[in-house]
Amino acid sequence: MTSRAATCQSWLADITLLFKASVKTVKTRNKALGLLDCSSREEACGVKRARVRDSFSGRAREVISNISKLKEFLLQHRKEYVNAGSVMCSDVSRMTDSERDQIDQDAQIFMRTCADAIGQLRSEMGKQVVSAQVKDHRAAVLDLIEVYLRGVCKLYSEQRAVRVKRVVDKKRLSRLEPEQISHNKQQSDGEENSDKPVSDSNMDLWEDNRVDDDLSPEEIQMFEQENQRLVGEMNSLLDEVRQIEGKVVEISRLQEIFSEKVLQQETEIDNIHQLVVGATENVKEGNEDIREAIKNNAGFRVWILFFLVMCSFSLLFLDWYDG
């Protein structure tokens, strides 16, 4: 309700129409006073208006429209993508895994091209010579586009994470089933085994003939058990692989964050390195200067000593000469 009141208010404070009305009054006033007719000038300016649009903003807008297309594409297929096949849903809108992988790949290629386009724009902008304000403006525009791209990438990675998680959950659920099935099988084996002696006894004569060609019931049982064990092992391996895949996706996300931070720190470390190099230079120079000073000091002292000794010798000499 407050927003409605606020929009009422902003509409009432809109004096654009008032402005247009005053434009008309000024026009009529000018015409009445016989000032220069602007209509001829309008055409000339109209031609000027159709000047070449700034290539930078045109290309920036292209990149944005591409990213928007990607976003729509992802959102469109999101429902089907994420719906990782609950048994209940109809098979009509089901996506196969290959289709999902295809979507993943396409999305990644697209995102990479968009990121490249942004990088290209940035390097070109660095080469062009324009005023400082335009430079700032362009840098800010590119930042905005990057943030937008990052938002869309987040959509994609969320989608993917949800998909992987659902698959893992499904596998976990279905892992219970083989156990149950094997459980059932064992039970049914038990039943079969109980049935078997009955049928065996019936078909004893008949089976005895076949005992050399076919495997004996114990061997059948053993092979069946081994079968089940192998199936169980494979399932658990598959399970673990899926889990690892999920974890790897998470780790890659973390890796992204870390690499971002490390890159940020890189510039700072460079600065510090430069400062340290400068500081060592200064310290070296300082050491040199101190050495010079010490030498000068020492030299100075020698000269003073020499002078004093010479003076005293000359005094002695004069004294002896006089005397």
Binding site: M1, T2, S3, R4, A5, A6, T7, C8, Q9, S10, L12, A13, D14, I15, T16, L18, F19, S22, V23, T25, V26, K27, N30, C38, R41, E42, C45, R53, D54, S57, I64, S68, K71, S131, A132, Q133, V134, D136, H137, A140, V141, D143, L144, I145, V147, Y148, G151, V152, L155, E240, Q243, I244, K247, E250, I251, R253, L254, I257
Partner: protein, 632 residues
Amino acid sequence: MAASVREKQTAALKRMLNFNAPPLKNTTAEPVWKVLIYDRFGQDIISPLLSVKELRDIGITLHLLLHSDRDPIPDVPAIYFVMPTEENIDRICQDLRNQLYESYYLNFISAISRSKLEDIASAALAANAVNLVTKVFDQYLNFITLEDDMFILCNQNKEHISYHAINKPDIMDTDMDGIMDTIVDSLFCFFVTLGAVPIIRCPRGNAAEMVAVKLDKKLRENLRDARNSLFTGDTVGTGQFSFQRPLFVLADRNLDLATPLHHTWTYQALIHDVLDFHLNRVSVEESQGSEASPAGARPKKKNKKSYDLTAADKFWQKHKGSPFPEVAEAVQEELDTYRAQEDEVKRLKSIMGLEGEDDGAISMLSDNTAKLTSAVSSLPELLEKKRLIDLHTNVATAVLDHIKSRKLDVYFEYEEKLMSKSTLDKSLLDIISDPDAGTAEDKMRLFLIYYITSQQPPSEADLEQYKKALVDAGCDLSPLNYIKQWKAFTKMAATPANYGSSGVKPMGLFSRVMNTGSQFVMEGVKNLVLKQHNLPVTRILDNLMEIKSNPETDDYRYFDPKMLRGSESSIPRSKNPFQEAIVFVVGGGNYIEYQNLVDYTKARQGKRVLYGCSELFNAAQFMKQLSQLGQK
């Protein structure tokens, strides 16, 4: 009104920056870039509400001053947010002629007159840019909101409407009219943004009454003009239970001159008093260290750092009204919690180090990735928290230095006693002649408060003694002349002295012992506990809101812009107590009154009080104005 004034103004600004369309809630919408151009008024309005990062998020790539050199940036819409003055209009016309931007969205802070609109129209015609001027709006945002419930009128030309300007003896009628118009314009914008038509009460016979009359007239005109009224649709649509209209109390600074001079003890008011603080930005001088500089070294440079105290800073919001010792303890607590969290994150690092050797445990890995993710996501929060703790530590240390050097706690205690008429344990002369308690300004403040709150003026001999002591301490005596005049003029001699019952209890040895453990060693600074007391402004508000009968407020005038006939009677129509009130002090206000009102509101459930003033000054600035007045 469920949304506070600050939220409303922020929402209005964001709408304006979104080309005057309501902003979408879609988080990943396509970025649209624009350039924001403001003048100094616009800058003051925007800077407490939106940070540069928020502007970037909205899509503003550049924000520039109107009167700076601006280069043409093609293909970009430009949003202007300026006052409709002559120079601004000229500059806009110049921009149109130079074709700096692709399209122009002009937003005027207060209403623009028809003639100026025609000036822009003719410039646009001459430059053939009429269809480039896409929208023109009157934003009615000519006030600055500092807190959720506090606003001031303007920061740029505040000498124009300062206490000095209103009260100087040689003021001309035209000047006074100009000042009143400015104030009424801003108040009108404030009520338009708030979306409510108030009931106005004001005392008789001073500047506040003139403001009330003019404001009433303006609101009435606007409501009559049904076509263009700015208040339609909101009697229904402003919040849940706003059947009642708010109460608007106009007070004049002359009612209470002691409060702006008072030394204070709460965090926000202290920062305003002692450091350089305006528009929610505080500048602190940082000294490089406390070691003695070796002989021959260059003198240490103090660099000034400025911090923004914003609404997002939870510690600030919680503690800005707390007494200073509480703040010190709270900072210590925050620091401890932060260190604990930091240690946890570090522990995680060591766990990860161990896990690197044992690579067969997938299950443990899953736990750790989850922990790592949570740690990484909480890292920005931790860093932000650290920054805030550092900020508050620096600010609080600076304040504490001032307190210790000027012995502000002594002053505070003494003044509280003066204002509440309790017995004084030290004579005034002792404090004034004490050479290391406070600056000359502090002593002057103390003396003025004593003079204002004493029932009878002190005898001539005493006065001479005090004056001599003050001059010895280096004070300037001109404010005293003005206060003498003021006291002579004001007929309400009894009421200013009544500052309510208050008491100041210095907490004893026990608390001092507790405090020595904390980082802020407050030895010698008494831990004073504030008891609840009401300043005159709060008392007046209480009487008017609760419709109590009191000789002070009974002859206040009553204005209701919605009534068909403006009546001169001062009999209020409704007998119900008001739920919302807006207090506005003409001539200047400060954080002490604001804090007092906030405390009053907290004690009563369901009431909302907004505080506004024509300008915000601290005691030093007020003293300067008083001395200017006293010299005339």
